[in-house]
Symmetry: C2
DNA sequence: GGGAGACAAACGAACGTTCGTTTGTTATCA
DNA sequence: TGATAACAAACGAACGTTCGTTTGTCTCCC
């Protein structure tokens, strides 16, 4: 029973998400797969490369979800609802990559970290765009700031990974419904 | 010119906030103070003790702010506004301790980490209490869930440290005003 | 069909480095 | 003079990584 490069990357995602990049040694990672740390170098160039691979997968998942949501027909509010639902799906279905993407990017070397910053900005731009549309068509308050209020929305979404318990009392659809009410209320309400 | 224990803890707060606990060595920390790493042991028991001290200061600051805000006269909405403004003050005035408290607690050993979890829960309970009061007196929607929506509010607040730029275009009072509108809209609005 | 050669996967030991920490000594100042 | 602060050197452990070697599997040719 042999291991593939993808096995190693998946295990790295699990370990980095649970213990952090610096908290995970190559020997830990090997043990997770029933191997020695040194054996991982048959599949992978090094530890940093593993982090790059996991983070890249996280970035790609978010971007794909945003592209899908932006193609939604209907009002700006509809597209924002789609962005939120898509974000929740990514977080809950790919938790390890998401955690690593959100929390371990600072352990990347300069070049790879710059790519993450750019990917994150492109993703956030999707939210800013929808907010601008919603302000224009009157769905949202005119004093809404696409940048600042966009950050508020993303702050809530990016935190889900830290507290949400899949086997807890709140199921996925209730989570999305509560997010929709809170966020759209925050943007439209009389505050 | 001699250094005090408090100097070392303050420098540790700065370094842990900037580079993380694992990303900061005792030699780095000594250099920050013009000392050797080994010289720090004249003032402090060890690296882990430094983290405990910094995190404890962060926890204390948040709790004191919550106690003050809860003593505010007026409606539940007034007290929530006070909680938010108090949180912003703590974050902006004690950024290093806050960053360390929020991001580096996972590097604490089990005992100290348990204390952090408890402190955080006590702080969040202040928000849940105000939310319950606001639901009861009709300020907030009856479907508001004190736990889940409380997490939403705290997600926004805890993220401020990550993006807010003191010398940027948004000053403190505008930040607080935008937080108030967004959060109270999210809890009261028609969604 | 069966041995020879090629290949990838994994091992186990060792490398150089960095880490947190300890120890013993020196200098400073009340 | 005696405590305090800082230094300098060293410790053992852990780290990421490299190396030479072994093991198992697949392919090709006789």
């Amino acid at each position: 029973m042999s291991h593939t490069r993808e096995d190693v990357i998946a295990a790295a995602g699990r370990m980095f998400a649970a213990k952090g990049y610096h908290g995970t040694s190559m020997r830990d990672l090997g043990r997770e797969l029933g191997l020695l740390g040194s054996s991982l170098y048959s599949h992978v160039g090094g530890k940093q490369e593993l982090l790059v691979e996991v983070v890249a997968r996280g970035a790609k998942l978010f971007q794909a979800a945003a592209d899908r949501a932006l193609a939604t027909e209907g009002t700006a509010a509809d597209r924002l609802r789609a962005l939120i639902a898509g974000h929740v799906d990514v977080v809950l279905d790919h938790r390890d990559e998401v955690r690593t993407f959100l929390n371990e990017a600072r352990s990347l070397d300069a070049e790879a970290r710059a790519a993450v910053v750019e990917a994150r900005d492109r993703y956030e731009e999707a939210f800013r765009t929808v907010l601008r549309e919603g302000i224009e068509d009157g769905s949202f308050r005119p004093e809404v700031d696409p940048v600042v209020d966009g950050i508020f929305v993303l702050s809530i979404l990016n935190a889900i990974e830290r507290w949400y318990d899949v086997s807890g009392p709140v199921d996925r659809s209730e989570l999305v419904a509560r997010l929709h009410r809170f966020v759209l209320g925050g943007l439209a309400g009389g505050g």
